[in-house]
Symmetry: C2
């Protein structure tokens, strides 16, 4: 049994999806329980330049024929039509669909859900909400036994990049936007991002997911960031806060006390200690408050070819597993784990931060640096300060190494300890995340 | 069709699971597609005091009989036996199992997986890895089409609480531990937490999940935080870093160049800008690096009755859905979304940060405060500074309100703008996360 996969569109994300399907086919087959066969890629112009080199014969202009022969259709064309027609056609004839098309989902989710129902097919769209960040599945499944009360998301990388740049550099909006455009973080026409329209479509999807409903885009209140000034950002900093463009969906009541759901996108002040305040640059994050789970946050890249392709492929493998499972007679077994080889701590790749108390005399630094070099370890920073702990004539030396093998780092420390000029190795802590 | 649920154990987490199953039965039935029936709770002493009031007749001491009549068994007894025997018995006869028992899973995951396979049942353990944080499903499913290269987790709330307290207050380890014990963040015997044993069991599970394998606990290198001093913490701060106890699992090579997996728990320096550095108090987080998705982080509460119960219930609903779906003939349809009522922006509950340029004369503050109060809005902070923008005789006034209905806040601003003493409302930004 083979799972036939049709790809519609081959832009930034589509070309990465094609690359993964072709390059990782053995690995994917093991996880799915059956091979995934990329039967073709429908594009308008098969001869256009692509980000990834792909065989010419895999391209077709006949999307309908491709859709009709597929078990799984991956729609990455974008826009309302013809994407919507292809998806509905696939679902009604029982092929499952993976899409990252937030505009289409925000406009037509109820009809597409109905088409999936009618065809007994699955419609998954992890890539549509916050790019690579797993959010659809955690909300739909992991939190299925809880009640979400509020969702707040940084779901547009362009505006977060601009606001973060204004916060860091004190620049005005126009300047930060121009820089973002120059660096490729904002489009030539930035309207959809800076006016909040992109975030609003994602807010509608988040609200639908979080509250087990379908929330229409037209009911999302939307304000962008164009009116935010350097003075607003400075005032926020002064108050211990930061300005973020948030997509917010929460349960509430109207003035008559009747329950409802409020969904809105607007610039928002957050205390600097809030987990969302630490989301920098073009990163995205979704913060969730649930009745029992309390506060949760999901953080990652919200856009980009490879990250978004990762989310698409997660959906493809999930559907593929279901298909393979059904074909095998409906067992719910997980794919079998494979053996692995544990590496001992000596083989860990890490870096060390050392504090040493040494004699305050000439030649000590050179002596220590010599031992470090002999073990093939390299030093990132070395700082010497006067030391109270070591007593008179002592200096405190702090060394941070580059990444090396633990065995070499440990041997280095052992040799340093033997040096007569070294009074004590007062601490050794490993470093990550540099 | 009813899904019969047996609960083993009724401690901190178990009593919350029982509460949710009993209180939320209608909501859960809608999500599962069939009612979940709590058939009983097996405990040693049915008359013991519980966190939650539960009907006496629901308790039993006969765990075997309870297991044998169940579709889903929730194991929250903890420890190796008899928990392991109950789980294996349930799985082999085809009942799916939800557990949060990390010690048992770290010791016996391969056998239990095999038992699930043999019985055609599911074994889910979202609660075992990082409490309420959805991590099992994102890694197993959302990232199923990607390759994880490294996982770093803050997976023990007690040690993170202690290290965070040392970072904030400059306290020594013993003092911070004593405070944590007094506040209920550390147990009377803190060994399993502070020596890293709890984190090591979770590290083995994370490694198994991330690398599609089974990684044995005995191969995890484990160091605790008892040797971390206030001086280490101060030196870290001085270098722009913070010390965290991390569980790390990554692909690597040994000195011969052969591939393997390194899993370790040790105190680790992280730059303050790293997303894991912002994880404060008893919170947990898991940071994942994947080939295509790049950097991801999952953040939330790693322990506690209700948060952990949320993770357990997510697994229960997921299994229940599969059962209900299979009983209905194998359709893969999602539960139907329900209608919801959108609230307009006027009904959003939010708070405002206002900047006003006002005449620098007596009575202005009282006049503005009076308008605010008339709209039923209350002020959290009000600050006056000299203003350059407003010209001579001007002051800049910054007001942050408490949470109120948007309509009242907007009306307040409109009235303030009409005041002769107000020269300009220079900015209005909403505030969240206070």
């Amino acid at each position: 049994m083979t799972v036939k996969v049709a790809l519609l569109g081959c832009g930034n994300v589509g070309s990465q999806v094609a690359r993964i399907l072709l390059e990782q086919s053995d690995e994917l087959a093991a996880r799915v329980g059956a091979p995934l066969e990329l039967t073709g890629i429908a594009v308008r112009n098969p001869d256009a330049a692509r980000d990834v080199e792909l065989p010419r014969e895999i391209f077709t202009t006949d999307a309908h024929a491709l859709v009709d022969g597929a078990d799984i259709v991956i729609e990455l064309i974008g826009g309302l039509e013809p994407a919507g027609e292809y998806i509905e056609r696939a679902l009604r004839r029982g092929a499952s669909v993976v899409t990252g098309n937030k505009a289409l989902l925000a406009a037509r989710l109820p009809e597409l859900t109905e088409a999936a129902e009618a065809g007994g097919a699955q419609l998954l769209y992890e890539a549509a909400v916050a790019g690579a960040i797993p959010i659809l599945r955690p909300i739909r499944e992991s939190l299925a036994g809880d009640d979400i009360t509020k969702v707040m998301g940084i779901v547009n990388g362009t505006t977060n990049y601009i606001l973060d740049a204004m916060d860091t550099s004190g620049a005005q909006f126009d300047q930060a936007l121009a820089d973002a455009q120059r660096l490729g973080y904002a489009e030539a026409d930035p309207t959809a991002d800076v006016e909040g329209h992109d975030a609003a479509a994602k807010a509608a999807l988040l609200a639908s997911l979080a509250f087990h409903t379908t929330f229409a885009l037209e009911n999302v209140h939307c304000e962008g960031i164009t009116s935010i000034s350097a003075e607003d950002v400075a005032a926020a900093e002064d108050a211990g806060m930061v300005i973020k463009l948030l997509a917010i969906a929460e349960r509430g009541t109207d003035s008559a006390g009747d329950e409802g759901i409020s969904v809105r996108v607007h610039p928002t002040l957050l205390p600097r200690e809030h987990p969302l305040a630490a989301v920098r640059g073009a990163f995205n994050a979704v913060f969730v408050e649930a009745e029992n789970a309390g506060e949760l946050m999901f953080y990652g890249q919200g856009a980009g070819g490879a990250p978004t392709a990762s989310a698409v492929m997660g959906d493809v493998v999930s559907i593929g597993r279901t298909r393979a499972t059904q074909a095998a007679g409906g067992s719910v077994a997980e794919p079998q784990p494979r053996p692995s080889r544990p590496l001992g701590i000596a083989d860990a790749a890490t870096s060390y931060a050392l504090s040493l108390d040494v004699s305050d005399e000439t030649g000590v630094l050179a002596e220590i640096a010599g031992i470090v070099a002999r073990h093939g370890v390299s030093i990132e920073t070395m700082r010497q300060t006067a030391s109270a702990e070591g007593g008179a004539g002592s200096a405190r030396l702090r060394i941070i190494t580059h990444v090396g093998r633990e065995a070499a780092l440990a041997a280095t420390v052992a040799d340093i300890e033997q040096l007569p000029v070294v009074k004590a190795v007062s601490s050794v802590v490993r470093v990550e995340g540099k």
